[in-house]
């Protein structure tokens, strides 16, 4: 192709034709089906997530550990969201923010980590319908 020339192809309708045939599922149906499909592995995830946070906490010794563990936390959070543990995912986001806070010394960060890990475990135990308000109140108490 010569410089300055642009080839423009027509939009490919294949996927649209396959998917928008009128059959299939609505979002409500799809989410309900996914929920049912994920129910079998949700308990295993919850146990793993609590253990993973405890493992990260046990190894948390210095600032480089804190930075490295942000990715591990993000992975737990991403999975929590797919299991519809929105409240737990939100606490883990807060946890990551406090872990990476340069203004806090390591003892403070470890204390905050403990508080967030407990709040996450509580949110996971409550299931996908855990109340955000309850979790926020618990977190505020633990972090004080």
């Amino acid at each position: 192709m010569t410089e300055g020339t642009t080839l423009l192809y027509d939009p490919d309708p294949t996927l649209q034709r396959l998917v928008l045939s009128g059959g299939g599922v609505t979002e409500t149906e799809a989410v309900a089906k996914a929920d049912a499909a994920l129910a079998a592995s949700r308990g295993a995830f919850e146990a793993w997530a609590v253990g993973r946070l405890a493992g990260i906490e046990a190894k948390l010794a210095n600032e480089s550990d804190a930075a490295r563990n942000l990715i591990a936390l993000a992975q737990v959070r991403d999975e929590a969201m797919l299991y519809r543990h929105e409240a737990a995912a939100r606490v883990i986001d807060h946890l990551a923010a406090s872990l990476g806070d340069p203004a806090a010394d390591m003892p403070r960060r470890k204390k905050l980590f403990r508080a967030h890990a407990l709040a996450t475990a509580h949110a996971l135990a409550q299931g996908p319908r855990a109340s955000r308000t309850d979790i926020d109140q618990l977190l505020a108490t633990l972090a004080a």
Binding site: M1, T2, E3, G4, T5, T6, L7, L8, Y9, D10, P11, D12, P13, T14, L15, Q16, L18, V19, L20, S21, G22, G23, G24, V25, T26, E27, T28, A30, V31, K33, A34, D35, A36, A37, L38, S41, I71, A74, Q75, R77, D78, E79, A80, M81, L82, Y83, R84, E86, A89
Partner: protein, 180 residues
């Protein structure tokens, strides 16, 4: 208003995700949506070969590796430039937890159709599928860019002689094309 229905039974989806723990969740969720075939690959090199072999209708790709290098962006560029039609034109949704304006723009300029911010839930995943299916775009092949047309607005009242710097040649239809 009735909800839009998606029939995914005849579609195949490729997931390129280094976090292997997410593979099962993706697979279970997409299968529950009725997706015909779901493949998961943990590394981008393996994914390129798989993309060429399986010719998925759609791919979700994480753009950053654990060192936060944009390996997934290079992967998208390679799909767009190295694979033959129609694979090179398949919709690709870039995904990452790092969603700065720069990351999103880089994904778009690499040839991604859309960007999905992590974390996302199963409803977001379903909605994203709907967005990609509904928003089909022309495909551009240029020396500087290969991918879906990045224009999202049609300017009816553009005053200048040419909106694009280059001469546009009609490339025809992607359907039926087997070679680049």
């Amino acid at each position: 208003m009735s909800e839009r229905r998606l029939d995914l039974a005849q579609t195949s989806v490729l997931i390129v995700e280094p976090n292997v723990r997410l593979h099962r969740v993706y697979r279970d969720a997409l299968t529950a949506f009725g997706t015909g075939h779901v493949s998961t690959v943990p590394d981008w090199d393996g994914a390129l070969a798989r993309f060429g072999e399986e010719r998925p209708h759609l791919a979700f790709v994480e753009v950053l590796d654990e060192e936060r290098r944009p390996v997934g962006l290079d992967w998208i560029r390679r799909v767009r430039r190295e694979l033959p039609f129609p694979s090179r034109a398949a919709p690709i949704v870039a995904s990452s937890a790092l969603t700065t304006a720069r990351t999103v723009c880089e994904a778009r300029d690499a040839g991604a159709n859309d960007f999905m911010k992590k974390p996302f839930g199963v409803a977001d995943l379903f909605r994203q599928l709907g967005r990609v299916v509904e928003f089909v775009r022309p495909f551009v092949v240029d020396h500087a860019y290969v991918g879906p047309c990045r224009r999202t607005k049609i300017g009816e009242n553009h005053p200048g002689p040419e909106r694009r710097y280059a001469t546009q040649l009609h490339g025809g239809s992607i359907q039926g094309l087997s070679l680049a």
